[in-house]
């Protein structure tokens, strides 16, 4: 039985087309989830640490899940990940890497920096849709988050 509650997802993705793909797939899955999208690594840190444009917790609520691309402008995704996992509060937020990179060094560093899961964007519509479908079921339906 699916017991998931609507959750806040922070999507860190510099490619607008890829952000659109994620949004479409998750929207198809469950309407109530709210996706907040930032386009570079610095914006992701500002959002999470309530800095600069994201100081207001009303308009920038704390996410339960972070979807993180790796190659990002300003601050690299691996560095964002490291900073999240170094913070006592933020480290509880599961962070899923979603990237085109399948480089072994990225995988090792990402897990080393505390990634909860590592997903490679497939170059195939069916597979990408399937991936987002499974991702949705797992994280949004079955996974339990702390209150």
């Amino acid at each position: 039985m699916i017991t998931g509650q609507p959750i806040v997802i922070l999507l860190v993705e510099d490619d607008p087309a890829h952000a659109e793909i994620v949004r479409r797939n998750l929207k198809d899955f469950r309407v109530a989830n709210r996706i907040y999208h930032v386009e570079d690594g610095q914006a992701a840190l500002d959002y999470l640490f309530h800095q600069a444009d994201y100081a207001d917790p009303q308009s920038s609520p704390q996410p339960q899940l972070i979807l993180l691309d790796l190659r990002l402008p300003k601050v690299d995704g691996l560095e964002v990940l490291r900073r999240i996992k170094e913070d006592n509060d933020l480290k509880r937020i599961p962070t899923v890497v979603l990237t085109t990179s399948d480089a072994e060094s990225d995988l090792i560093t990402a897990y080393g920096n505390g990634a909860g899961s590592y997903l490679v964007k497939p170059v195939d519509f069916e597979k990408f849709t399937k991936l987002m479908d499974v991702f949705g079921y797992y994280w949004l339906a079955w996974n339990r988050f702390p209150e």
Binding site: D14, D15, A17, H18, E20, I21, R24, E39, D40, Q42, R71, P73, K74, V75, D76, T100, S101, A103, K121, P122, V123, D124, F125, E126, F128, T129
Partner: protein, 490 residues
């Protein structure tokens, strides 16, 4: 005295005279009998043979005349000493009749204690001298070989003490020869234990080859070396010690490091390019899938939107490919290097961005300081063009936009700068701007290849590029170095 006795005495004298005559004539030394003025009274056969004069010719000369000009003074002094002491010996040279010189050992004494007649014995020691010289030459030759070697060479005793070194060892350690000899061999390495192990290995195995160690100079400078060492023995085959030669591989190591860096760069380049090309491919494939759905659903609005994403991604890919090609061409296909004054290069660069400069109303100030640049002219123009273009692009809302171009000499390099009073760059992000396809601001046009390209151009000219900015709103200064003289390809 009876006649018989006298006969006997005469016989004895005759006998004695005969013996002396024999001794005199057949002596292996030349014998000269002369008075205290050096006037010759008699010479033996050996003297005739030795000098090549006839006996009469010899008798017409005095002792001094036998000496060649260059040693006469020294010989005279020696004879005077000898006359004073009554006897003595010294080494000198004689000139033969044919003009050739021989080395001689001279000893003289009066024939009788109080007589003014002297007997001077002269021995030809030319062969001995030559043998001595030959030995000295051999020793010198070996020493020269050792000293001429650019590799530090040492010999080490069985106890591990240094017994001999060459100049290269002194140079590499910074320690004098006197202090090196007798000291512990292992003291001059960054890893004494490893040096000790290596030297034990030589005794065990008779030799080691390419044993890596690092020598520490007294100044702290480290020289990476490979040691080749073997034991050396005396004629009986007993091991006397170890002879070790160190090959300086610092340069080799530096080249290795450069090669590794180049390789890392290539790996990064491949990684970046493959990622950045894959990204739009994901977009194209995925939105083609959506497009199929749109067609089935007859959703014209979404169809248009999806085609937009596809064509945007395709354009991005095409731009990326162009940039990658251009990027990889720098350093491979270069124009011949030429010399050009800074001002003419800057003028060409400014002409190419004149439109942007006037559109934004930017004031550009160029130094009049003379400086000659050496390199691929079109690429050097491109550097200034890009830096000025960037400065203009990131002016923000600056009311009095200004770009300054200048140069400062620093050693054998020029440091050029392009300074603006635009939006500046957050110090946190300054490290990334020279990376390939890195863009700080996704809203600006271009693929983020500009500064990576500038870095590549400067680096293939042997220079460095960096930026200085106090932060947002504080303007940016880009600086890069170029050699004042020659193009240094790395």
């Amino acid at each position: 005295m009876t006649a018989k006795k006298k006969d006997k005495a005469d016989d004895a004298l005759r006998e004695s005279e005969h013996r002396y005559r024999n001794l005199f004539e057949y002596s292996s030394d030349a014998i000269f009998i002369h008075d205290d003025k050096g006037h010759m009274l008699n010479v033996n056969q050996r003297a005739v043979d030795m000098l090549g004069y006839t006996r009469d010719e010899l008798l017409a000369l005095s002792m001094v005349d036998y000496h060649p000009q260059e040693v006469v003074d020294v010989a005279m002094a020696a004879y005077n000493e000898l006359a004073k002491a009554g006897h003595g010996r010294f080494d000198s040279k004689f000139r033969k009749k044919d003009g050739s010189l021989i080395d001689v050992a001279i000893s003289a004494q009066p024939i009788e204690p109080v007589s003014a007649v002297f007997q001077t014995l002269v021995r030809d020691i030319t062969y001995r001298k030559r043998a001595e010289e030959a030995l000295r030459a051999t020793v010198n030759y070996s020493r020269n070989l050792i000293e001429t070697s650019l590799d530090p060479l040492v010999t080490i005793s069985a106890e591990g003490k240094i017994t001999d070194v060459n100049k290269a060892t002194v140079k590499t350690t910074g320690v004098s020869r006197e202090r090196l000899i007798g000291s512990d061999f292992v003291d001059y390495f960054t890893e004494p234990e490893k040096a000790h192990d290596g030297y034990l290995k030589v005794f065990e195995q008779g030799q080691v080859t390419d044993y890596p160690l690092a020598i520490r100079h007294t100044s702290g400078a480290i020289t990476d070396v490979l040691f080749n060492a073997s034991v050396y023995r005396n004629e009986q085959g007993q091991v006397l010690g170890v002879f070790a030669a160190a090959r300086d591989i610092t340069k080799l190591k530096r080249m290795e490091k450069e090669l590794r860096e180049k390789n890392d760069e290539t790996v990064l380049f491949t990684y970046t390019v493959s990622h950045d090309l894959k990204s739009p491919l994901v977009t194209i494939k995925t939105f083609l899938g959506y497009l199929e759905q749109d067609i089935l659903k007859q959703d014209a609005a979404r169809m248009e939107k999806d085609i937009g994403y596809i064509s945007g991604a395709a354009d991005k890919m095409s731009r990326l490919l162009d940039d990658v090609l251009e990027f990889s061409r720098v350093g491979r296909k270069m124009n011949p290097s030429v010399e050009a004054p800074l001002q003419t290069i800057v003028k060409d660069a400014l002409d190419l961005v004149a439109g942007q400069i006037s559109a934004r109303g930017v004031q550009v100030e160029v130094t009049e300081e003379p400086a000659l640049l050496y390199g691929d002219r079109p690429l050097l123009v491109e550097v200034f063009q890009n830096l000025v273009d960037n400065a203009v692009k990131f002016m923000g809302d600056q009311a009095a936009p200004l770009v300054e171009i200048g140069v400062e000499p620093k050693g054998d390099e020029w440091v050029f700068f392009v300074r603006d009073n635009g939006i500046g760059i957050d110090p946190r992000h300054q490290g990334k701007v020279f990376g390939l396809f890195e863009k700080l601001n996704p809203d600006t046009e271009g693929n983020g290849i500009g500064l990576a390209m500038m870095r590549r151009i400067v680096e293939v000219h042997g220079g460095k590029i960096w930026l200085e900015s106090a932060g947002s709103g504080k303007g940016t200064t880009f600086r890069f170095t170029l050699s004042k003289t020659k193009l240094q390809r790395t």
